[in-house]
């Protein structure tokens, strides 16, 4: 029997090696796999490369992982925000590397990795400093930049519901990077609000088919809030 569900968050992040490239889903407050990031912090992997749209906000989640010195390099589109002080400090001190990628190019590089595409040309960033050193080509009279896929060892994503085959549905704009990151990593771990029996998800509405998912763990915000209150 295929059962991709794992009983604990610790089991969900077990085996993530030092030096791994880890994709982390989420956009600002939506779709962030906060409990999985906390579990990765507790798990201890170091020298990580993180692929995510942001570089952490406030002092929790990705910001906590960065503050703990676990992240060597980050690939993202929008690290700066009024509450990105953890990243800002380490970046200005030269203690974290940044690869800045336009948001759509970031998404497409992730998609390309998952879809087995060798590289692709995009007009975005053409003529800008983010295209420096990259191969360019004029296609139909328009300048394009060659971009390569972004593969990962691990993707940590958040979905709304999942089943033991790894099928996932998301919630609202929380979907953001989840479906594409799921395809681009060798080990995709999804935290879900609810694990449901096989057949409970409408096959017409499944967003991420289970083939892309290795582990499913139930974790919901209410539990996390309770935990943090207890810890405090």
């Amino acid at each position: 029997m295929i059962d991709k569900t794992v009983p604990t968050l610790d089991a969900a992040v077990a085996g993530i090696a030092d030096g791994s490239t880890v994709m982390v889903g989420g956009f600002a407050t939506s779709g962030v796999p906060l409990e999985l990031i906390d579990a990765l912090l507790a798990q201890g992997a170091r020298e990580l490369t993180i692929v995510s749209n942001h570089a952490g906000n406030g002092d929790t989640g990705l910001a906590a992982l960065i503050a703990a010195g676990r992240v060597r390099r980050i690939v993202c589109s929008y690290p700066r925000h009024k509450d990105s002080w953890v990243f800002d400090r380490l970046f200005k001190a030269g203690r974290i590397e940044l690869e800045l990628v336009p948001q759509g190019t970031l998404a497409e590089r992730i998609r390309a990795a998952g879809a087995g595409i060798g590289a692709f040309y995009t007009p975005a960033a053409s003529g800008t400093e983010l295209a420096q050193g990259k191969e360019t080509r004029v296609i139909d009279g328009r300048a394009h930049v060659l971009e390569h896929p972004l593969h990962a060892d691990v993707a940590l994503i958040r979905a709304d519901r999942g089943d033991r085959w790894g099928n996932l549905v998301y919630r609202m704009a929380g979907r953001n990077f989840g479906p594409i990151m799921a395809t681009a990593a060798r080990l995709t771990v999804a935290q879900v609000r609810e694990v449901v029996p096989l057949g409970a998800l409408d096959p017409e509405a499944i967003v991420t088919p289970g083939i892309f998912v290795a582990r499913v763990v139930q974790a919901n915000r209410a539990d996390a809030d309770t935990r943090s209150r207890t810890a405090a």
């Binding site: 600002a28 407050t29 589109s77 700066r80 940044l98 975005a124 003529g127 979907r175 953001n176 594409i180």
Partner: protein, 218 residues
């Protein structure tokens, strides 16, 4: 000579007037979001937000915010009946694939050739962040810029050549400022409207680049 600058709301209203019914529109972070307040219900305009929404509605009412339903500016919003959620690759396919009719963006500078600078001031100690700016500028069918005409120091933001880092080359179609509405055309910058009380010659002097008076030709 006395003249009144357009307020931010007047600028937003002016931009909204140029957006045809049934358009698919992306409103950039900052001042462009104000344009959304000026669409009337009789003209359906469908708003796209690059984090994964089409058919975005007004901001969420206090007490009804949902952390999973935000726009690209991180503001809690609503979804209209008929709206859809999608992942980032689909969202940027809408942008890059030329499916977005109009994108309204803020800017630090626009050049006479329509080059846009809006992602980075170029300051050495600034933390760079680009988000979807380059994809939007390169991908939307029409790019409208909405910005103050002058910097706080009184320098024109419309320039011969950008001094700030480029977002995209030759991408801007129309510029809306607090002083004028200006089209970027092959024959140069063509002024369509000027605020009441400001003469064309004075606008040209403040702007400091060649302008064509296109007001009579509409």
């Amino acid at each position: 000579m006395t003249y009144d600058r357009y307020t931010r709301d007047q600028m937003a209203s002016r931009v909204a007037r140029d957006i045809p019914a049934c358009s698919y529109v992306n409103l950039g972070i900052g001042m462009p979001t104000l344009v959304g307040n000026h669409f009337t219900a009789d003209r359906e305009v469908i708003l796209h937000s690059e984090n994964g929404l089409l058919g975005m509605g007004p901001p969420a009412a206090p007490g009804h915010e949902d952390p999973d339903l935000i726009n690209a500016s991180r503001t809690p919003v609503t979804l209209l009946p008929g709206g859809a959620y999608f992942h980032h690759a689909d969202s940027f396919a809408m942008i890059r694939g030329g499916h977005i009719d109009i994108c309204v963006l803020g800017a630090f500078q626009v050049s006479v050739a329509g080059d846009l600078a809006n992602w980075h001031t170029g300051a050495a100690d600034a933390i760079p962040a680009v988000g979807g700016a380059m994809d939007l500028a390169a991908g939307a069918k029409r790019v409208y810029v909405m910005m103050g005409h002058l910097t706080k120091a009184g320098e024109s933001k419309i320039v011969e050549r950008l001094s700030c880092p480029v977002t995209a080359l030759a991408c801007v179609d129309r510029i809306y400022t607090d002083l004028a509405v200006i089209d970027v055309t092959p024959r140069g910058l063509v002024v369509r409207e000027i605020v009441d009380g400001l003469a064309f010659g004075e606008l040209a002097r403040l702007t400091g680049v060649a302008l064509v008076d296109g007001r009579s030709s509409g």
